[in-house]
Symmetry: C2
Subunit: 349 residues, 2 copies
């Protein structure tokens, strides 16, 4: 198992990313390839007393920034850690790729260089939400608009991921909507509801509202990338606000502070449960090989967890199950279209 | 000032709604009209030792339920507390209307009976989010799809509300989007961005992401009803989950429980700050007279707060400012359309 790690890009690179990779090298039973500025990597490894002989280092001279146009990156920055790393993945020089860089650039470059898995119409960016039980939200931003067939395929890809990565037998798929009833939502949701309901490969549990989401009602929640992004970031914002208020409560007085010390371990556990970075990064589902997007603000621990997730993704068989399912889906859709065409022809005669 | 109160409908009616109305009668300097089943009202008033002579009671024999089709309610249930109350409002027999009933039915019936304020294209359901500073989210579900001009008008209506109800001078308006850059979102957001930017009556602060929302970046946040509903309910769900986890922390051991007792007042303040019911209900903006939708799960306190909000809404001058602004908006749009028509004619000659 070999994981290709982009140590440039993101808010805290290369310091935290290199440190995270070093932590992962200690914890994970996998070879690592660190792609980035060799000077930075050597300096940080030295500071951390880490023997660089234990990993492979591939030097690159360019960095993809947040300002880069996602569509131009592959052509404009061929020597960036992101593009070089993705090329290595495409050429089989590693089993998975991890990056904290520009999400749009990573998604587009992965699609262009590594290409989509067989049968996939649209790849999507998943996010595992830290609810009572983990819920995979898909898509969270790659496709601002989608067709109902895309949502159907997101359901299939998401189920394969949750099955193999979290051991969920027959993952329950929900459709994010503004009400539980079948008639709810825009035309897109109503059409998608019908398809999800009819598809026997999908364990569809119906529409899911945001208020029910945290309480173990589904394992996979499908939506367009616009709505998914709004949900993901709102939940993040509100969580941050509440934890901030809680901090204020515990620092309000010496008594409050003492109270804090008394329940510190419990609060830590709670914070850990709510911390998305504990779950690692966001899997880009539908690309032919495992690609993990770590949060742009990842610290060393979060980045280490993203690498762990890449190791698990590559070793879980999720990729194989996903590709098998999307190929079967594409074949079935093709057969349906041909049958419809044939029927139309026969009707015309 | 006279407030018409629908005491039927919702999860806890008539018990909690009548109790809430009784609390409001004690606290508010306003006459109340209780619309609903007289037997229920008399029984609960007696239990609460409340002298019914202090309020007006209008008996109705029907109740709008969650199962009722919003569009048919006016015709199908003419003797329901909702329809009777709205008719009274339309006829000037009160200054505002409050109900916990079926949101869709209330919105549709208010539009049909009370009608929209002058110049309004689409009314919307607002929600005041309990953030660092209150933020009015509009729309939260009445219009699952909207045009960019609707969002522009939501901005104008929302600003009038926040100005008069919360004393915010020149309310900052944000557009809910999946990124800060102008190019973000679907076609709708890009078109709306341009309009909001160009409209000099609107203090537009640009796109707002969910992650920034709680941290005082805008006073009014406009969006389509589908996305607004997803955001509102997700935030509600996550808040509930975190407070639930916190409760588990404090009940984990006797020491934890002692710790809880030490900071109980601070925690109560925090919970109060986060409690949407403290802010009352959701104003339906764009209807010709003040209508407040109280949360379906309102208890007596929440319902009392919704009545307080109705009193404030009717007395704030928000309605007058809103109508003045929407009329000016409609006149300007009409002039623009006529100028464009004239220009096209001249070009053709």
């Amino acid at each position: 198992m070999k994981i290709i790690v982009d140590v440039m890009g993101g808010d805290n690179a290369p310091e935290e990313t290199v440190k995270g990779a070093i932590m992962a090298a200690d914890e994970q039973n996998a070879e690592l390839v660190l792609v980035g500025d060799r000077n930075d990597i050597e300096r940080i490894a030295k500071e951390q007393s880490f023997d660089l002989g234990r990993v492979e280092v591939v030097h690159t001279g360019e960095i993809v920034t947040m300002e880069d146009d996602p569509i131009s990156v592959v052509r404009a920055k061929p020597d960036s850690s992101m593009v070089v790393g993705l090329r290595m993945l495409a050429e089989g020089k590693g089993d998975a790729f991890v990056s904290t860089g520009n999400t749009g650039a990573l998604f587009t470059s992965a699609t262009l260089i590594v290409r989509k898995a067989k049968g996939v119409q649209r790849a999507g960016i998943g996010a595992v939400l830290p609810c009572e039980k983990p819920v995979l939200l898909l898509d969270t931003g790659a496709n601002v608009t989608v067709a109902e067939e895309n949502l159907e395929q997101f359901a299939i890809m998401g189920a394969a991921y949750m099955h193999k990565m979290f051991g969920v037998e027959s993952p329950r798929v929900g459709l994010l909507n503004n009400g539980a009833e079948e008639c709810k939502g825009t035309e897109l949701q109503r059409a998608a509801y019908k398809r999800l309901q009819e598809n026997r490969e999908i364990n569809f549990v119906g529409n899911v509202e945001g208020s029910a989401l945290p309480f173990d009602v589904c394992d996979v929640l499908v939506t367009d990338g616009f709505t998914g992004n709004i949900l993901l970031k709102s939940v993040e914002g509100v969580g941050k606000m509440i934890l901030g208020k809680l901090k204020n409560v515990f620092t309000a007085s010496p008594v409050a502070n003492l109270s804090y010390l008394m329940i510190k371990p419990h609060l830590r556990t709670m914070k850990k449960e709510l911390d998305a970075s504990e779950h690692g990064g966001a899997p880009i589902l539908g690309i032919a090989k495992p690609v993990i997007k770590a949060h742009g603000s990842s610290d060393a621990k979060a980045f280490k967890n993203a690498i762990r997730q890449a190791v698990e993704f590559a070793g879980s068989g999720a990729m194989e199950e996903l590709e098998k399912a999307t190929q079967a889906f594409a074949a079935r859709k093709k057969a349906e279209r041909e049958a419809a065409k044939q029927a139309a022809l026969e009707n015309a005669q």
